[in-house]
């Protein structure tokens, strides 16, 4: 072949360089189909999810739970089902737990409020201000966490709706972390689980569990291993396992079929991509034309 001219593309090379819209279409089909026709794949509960459940079971009835939901709509698909499942656990056995919710992501508290209304109010008849409260958002990240160690009412003088929190019965007698039985964090990143561990668990010795996005979970394994996190939910999978554990199957369980097939298709693409890569390399070294 004369210099400067490229060899014509072989079939294998064409397949290797296939239009990425084909990949997109394959993913779309494998995600949509199981959402329409669920496969009902069995869900096995991991030890860290079991520990999460046990930690909440271990607190006495009537305890106060701090429930920071540090995420925004970008992580809603993974973390909102987790929030819903955890709320079912809080309210389903009539344990009279007092839930103090808040969010350190600006767009977090409206999502938490929606979950409170859908689960606590509509399904269990819980009362705002008596059984649960949404303290809303406060900028300051770690400073907010540390400041709550001195005084929660001073850090959050009003709730999500602007109501002074000293007018809410649930907040009577709540001063700081000494009044909190467990910190249940649902986190999408910074500020979130890592900062709660560093600022609250290490300093005030509060029992803590965490639910995180799948992608950020590896970051928190060292804390779970060291016992600083008593339990952990990892992404949609963690939420689905939790739903199985509390016997309340919801959106996470139905989403797991789609996620299963989605993962499988990505793995198939990795395998096919590598087979083509190896064949093409062999072709080039042997001067093949297929």
């Amino acid at each position: 072949m004369p210099n400067g001219m490229n060899a014509p593309e072989t079939t294998l090379e064409k397949i290797e360089r296939m239009d990425r819209r084909i990949v997109f279409l394959a993913i779309a089909i494998t995600i949509i189909l199981p959402l329409i026709w669920p496969l009902g794949l069995p869900i096995e509960v991991s030890p860290q999810v079991d520990d999460f459940h046990e930690a909440i079971e271990s607190i006495p009835d009537g305890s106060v739970v701090l429930f920071p939901n540090d995420y925004d709509p970008a992580s809603k698909a993974e973390l909102y089902p987790m929030t819903v499942a955890i709320l079912h656990h809080f309210f389903k056995e009539d344990r009279n737990l007092k839930i103090i919710g808040l969010g350190l992501f600006p767009a977090g508290p409206p999502l938490l409020q929606k979950a409170f209304e859908e689960v606590a109010v509509e399904q269990y008849g819980a009362e705002y201000g008596k059984d649960f409260v949404n303290l809303g958002y406060k900028e300051g990240r770690e400073i907010v966490m540390a400041s709550m160690g001195e005084s929660i009412p001073k850090t959050f003088p009003t709730d999500f709706f602007g109501t002074p929190i000293d007018s809410l019965p649930i907040m009577l007698g709540i001063k700081n972390y000494t009044d909190i039985a467990i910190l249940v964090n649902v986190s999408a990143g910074y500020p979130g689980t890592k900062e709660w561990v560093q600022q609250v668990v290490s300093v005030f010795d509060v029992l803590m569990v965490s639910g995180t996005t799948g992608v950020s979970a590896p970051e928190y394994y060292p804390y779970y291993n060291s016992g600083q996190l008593a339990g952990m939910l990892e992404g949609l999978k963690g939420a689905a396992e939790y739903e199985t554990l509390i016997e309340k199957q919801g959106i996470a369980t139905s989403g797991m079929d789609a996620q299963s097939l989605g993962h499988l298709v990505i793995i198939l693409f990795i395998i096919v991509g590598n087979v083509l890569f190896i064949l093409n390399r062999r072709n080039k070294t042997k001067g093949g034309r297929f």
């Binding site: 970008a74 409206p110 999502l111 409020q113 900028e139």
Partner: protein, 212 residues
Amino acid sequence: MARRSIPTAIAFFFGAMMVVNYFVPWGWFSDRANQVQEWGLIVVAFAYILGALNVMRVHGHKIQRKDEDWRFSIVTIITMVVMLGFGLMPEQWAIGGMERGSPFLWMFDNMYVPMMATMYSLLAFFIASAAFRAFKVRSLEATLLAVTAVIVMIGAVPLGGILLPGSMELRTWIMETLQNVGKRGIMIGVALGAISTSLKIILGIERPYGRD
């Protein structure tokens, strides 16, 4: 001289105060440290106002100069003003407050949430495409990475237990042992780096708050 020494002295005083408070959370001293934290919250709140004004200024200039994509700047400013306006309206007004059904929450639920969720969901498609193109076994290290990724991915879903029995346990072992070792090393390194940088700032060796 004073321009340099006064900020350094302030940084040293407050930085040292917070460090000492961690180890000696004693009455009077602890109260002062808590007060400093409250000041911090107030300063951060003001930073938000500055941030909003800066967004207006940057996009305002862009519109004025008709820079590239200046029309998007109009959208940015309008949406910011509208959301901010409805968000700040008192509950007593018919169109104010954060209750369900209020315009602010309606826009949040029906515009902001779907847009953010859509952006994040697109990742699934790009990850699949990138995995097909980039996850190639070019070397021993790349092969190890690809094999580990496949095990972790398949072990993370219920289908994995059916297709590859034991994959869940193998994934747990990878995450709790192999992954943890590397992660701990990185975390300890980062923590030591943070301590060293903080000490440099407290002692005035590094001065991110001032111009030399």
